[in-house]
């Protein structure tokens, strides 16, 4: 063996051998005599530690009494993983999924209906704010329980308001006002006076671009009194839809769409100091409670406030609400033991402890005073109260929501890029989604026939 080969073998082989022989071996210790409830979730890091702490407490108290051991596992892409495992006949007993996939899974019979189990286990749901339970229903059947809910609100930079001559304690209250404020807040750098190509935006008032924190690209018609799903049809090309996207188009035209696109083209890392709102480049943004956590971390001196996102009229306060869910997949092996665990999880002290740790809102009508004390989000009460609005809405509970979500994203982007005018884009998207809905209905009818 040449010296080179010997060195190669030593450098590569020795660490490998040592790691294989003496390396750590993981193991889970489960007390004897316990029924194991397998619980899959998506949370890791601080969020994972918070849920693990609660699970450990369950295992030491209620679990010990009832002979149940909850085995919490954090998995990546838990939504899809759960669907594959359910289709493969080996689902977990409890899973935490997001609202994007919920209606599809409920429609595909991948979830266990919970109404009867909730009654059997005497779980009192009357304390929840109605919106959170509404979101957990599909086709009038309860398929989930809320875990970590949140609403989204308007964050605005108070310093920018002051500089633009606006009252920092008076956020916009209507969508028309929002456009007006946004225009006044937008600042330009006029480079070469003779060359308009040299202009650029240094501070943008507002943007609904999905790449710039406007993540809920489908939600805009809702703020114009529209609702996208009526139980049979995805109603995008409506008065509300046309008004919403005309509002978006008009603002961009007034500011200058080329410059807005140039500004949006920065593609910043959102969870960093480059976040345009935290960096003081974007004055107003529609976001969830986590933006406060990012602000505390990356821009602690930022002077900002939070208010309900404006609707077309002050008479109807539309609020975008969303939640993660606890579900029991179809054909879970231990649904009753899973319900014992879920009953513990959705009790007010436990669920509020989880949501406080996750920086989210309380799903209950009357949050305990302790919930707000020491909450990481200084504006948690604003987010919380918004969920009581009778005009709160979640994502459309339609079976092929993931496909409609994608189509509306393409449509929104084509309008924002100036590729299509709102009316034409809406008509085209509506036609495509109608086809998807019709296909889904045919498949559902076939499934009903075979069942």
């Amino acid at each position: 063996m040449s010296l080179r080969n010997l060195i190669s073998a030593l450098v590569l082989g020795l660490p490998v051998l040592l790691l294989l022989v003496f390396g750590p071996r993981g193991r889970t210790e489960i007390p004897a005599g316990r029924t194991v409830v397998v619980y899959w979730e998506k949370w890791t890091l601080a969020e994972g530690v918070a849920i693990q702490r609660i699970v450990n407490r369950f295992n030491e108290t209620v679990g010990a009494e009832r002979g149940i051991w909850v085995d919490y596992t954090a998995l990546g892409d838990v939504d899809k993983r759960m669907l594959i495992a359910t289709a493969g006949g080996d689902p977990p007993d409890v899973a935490g999924i997001s609202d994007r996939f919920f209606p599809q899974y409920a429609a595909q019979s991948a979830l266990t209906p919970l109404d009867a189990l909730v009654r059997e286990f005497d779980i009192d749901l009357s304390g929840f704010k109605p919106i959170w339970l509404d979101i957990c229903r599909y086709d009038d059947t309860l398929f989930a329980l809320p875990s970590t809910p949140f609403t989204v609100a308007l964050y605005y930079n108070r310093a920018h308001f002051r500089a633009a001559g606006l009252d920092p304690d008076r956020p916009p209250r209507t969508t028309a006002e929002l456009n007006d404020f946004a225009e006044r807040l937008t600042r330009f750098d006029r480079g070469d006076p003779g060359d308009p190509q040299d202009d650029r935006i240094v501070q943008l008032g507002f943007t609904a671009s999905p790449s710039m924190l406007g993540w809920w690209h489908w939600a805009w018609p809702n703020f114009f009194d529209g609702r996208l799903w009526d139980g049979r049809r995805f109603a995008l090309d409506t008065d509300a839809g046309r008004a919403a996207y005309a509002w978006m188009w008009d603002y961009r035209e007034r500011v200058g769409n080329r410059l807005v696109l140039q500004f949006e083209g920065q593609q910043p890392i959102i969870e960093s100091a480059q976040n345009p709102f935290l960096a003081g480049e974007l004055s107003m943004v529609l976001q969830g409670p986590w933006l406060s956590a990012w602000a505390a971390r990356y821009a602690p001196d930022l002077d900002y406030a939070v208010a309900p996102f404006p609707s077309v009229s002050t008479q109807r306060q539309h609020v975008l609400a969303s939640t993660d869910f606890f579900v029991i997949p179809r054909n879970a092996r231990r649904p009753r033991e899973a319900m014992v665990f879920l009953k513990y999880m959705v009790s007010q002290p436990v669920l509020e402890e989880l949501n406080r740790a996750h920086g989210k809102v309380s799903p209950f009508r009357r949050p305990q005073p302790a919930f707000y004390e020491g909450h990481v989000n200084p504006f948690v009460r604003v987010f919380d109260e918004m969920a009581t609005s009778p005009y709160a809405f979640g994502s459309p509970p339609m079976p092929n929501w993931t496909e409609a979500w994608t189509e509306t994203l393409y449509m929104t982007e084509s309008i924002q890029r100036g590729v299509a005018r709102p009316t034409a884009a809406l008509t085209a998207a509506q036609e495509k989604i109608d086809v998807l809905v019709a296909q889904q209905e045919r498949m559902a009818a076939r499934r009903r026939t075979t069942e």
Partner: protein
């Protein structure tokens, strides 16, 4: 057989894009190449720089840390159950990325997978290259056609199969199938075997060597460059594979490095970027070392197996 003379070597070396190199030209060539190399290295340098930053400096855009620390690496070396202490003396929650455990799992999967892949693919490739039997070419075409089937199509059937075998939740689905070869590697090795002169094989058979003996004693040693390519490409595939572990693993004690990396990304804004970059560095380094030692064999294998296109 032709041999290159010192003169012809000098000629070849003395030309670059058909022109004779002058010292100035040489200088500019190296400067340009160095700049391009630096450009390619920039993401790696950024990754390394962030991994050495303390938590307070993470949001700074500077490439290099002002106060470099190995704290992120220390955290990744601490078991997931162990709380660590940060630079200010504050206890910090354990990280879900315990490098020694994940590296060990990944190594086990990689070694078992590569062993199986090299052995099974070379046996199949030898059969397709050298043994005449009815339907051989049709079988080979079917084998190649399996490359066209996207993995999502196979996901649920595979899951059902592995569930029946009791493999779900273990690492076996990640290396077990490798023992049945892969179409791409079979194709690669077959092309190499086809290029080996028949006379070598015939001489061995005339001397009384069995088919297996010919394969094991003659063909495999000759195919070492191609086998190295197959092994290296497969190690890289296994090392970076996220989808397989994501679907088939459900216990943290069996997770692999690529899967573990995902757990350092928070959903609500607490991503420890220095730990994420430290983990990425730890994942990349073994691959770089491996390539450093095997690059000569790898390049020779690529050149002789027709992989370079």
């Amino acid at each position: 057989m032709t041999r290159s003379t010192p003169h012809s070597t000098a000629d070849t070396r003395g030309h670059f894009f058909g022109r004779t190199r002058t010292p100035t030209g040489q200088f500019f060539t190296y400067v340009t190449l160095a700049l391009v190399a630096l450009l390619w290295l920039l993401p790696l340098a950024w990754m390394l720089g962030v991994s050495l930053k303390p938590a307070e400096e993470i949001s700074s855009a500077a490439l290099l840390p002002q106060h470099p620390t190995l704290h992120a690496y220390e955290r990744l070396m601490a078991p997931a159950s162990q709380t660590t202490i940060d630079a200010t003396g504050r206890p910090v929650e354990p990280t879900p990325f315990y490098f020694p455990l994940l590296a060990r799992n990944t190594l086990i999967v990689a070694l078992l997978s590569v062993g199986g892949m090299v052995l099974s693919s070379s046996i199949a490739a030898y059969g397709f290259a050298r043994i005449r039997f009815p339907g051989r070419d049709i079988l080979f075409a079917i084998c190649l056609a399996t490359m066209m089937i996207p993995f999502p199509v196979l996901m649920v059937p595979q899951y059902l199969l592995f569930k029946q075998l009791g493999w779900i939740g273990t690492t076996i689905p990640l290396w077990g199938p490798a023992w049945f070869g892969s179409a791409f590697n079979v194709f690669l090795l077959r092309q190499f075997f086809v290029g080996i002169p028949y006379e070598l094989e015939e001489a061995a058979l005339l001397d009384g060597c069995s088919r297996w003996g010919v394969f094991w004693r003659i063909m495999l040693p000759l195919a070492r460059p191609a086998l190295t390519v197959v092994a290296l490409l497969h190690v890289l595939y296994v090392w970076n594979d996220l989808v397989g572990p994501l679907i088939f693993l459900s216990r943290p004690e069996t997770y692999t490095l690529a899967l573990g990396l995902q757990f350092l990304q928070s959903r609500s804004g607490d991503t420890p970027w220095n730990e994420l970059m430290a983990a990425a560095t730890l994942i990349v380094v073994p691959v770089l070392i491996l390539f450093l030692f095997a690059q000569r064999a790898f390049i020779r294998g690529v050149a002789t197996s027709g992989l370079k296109g």
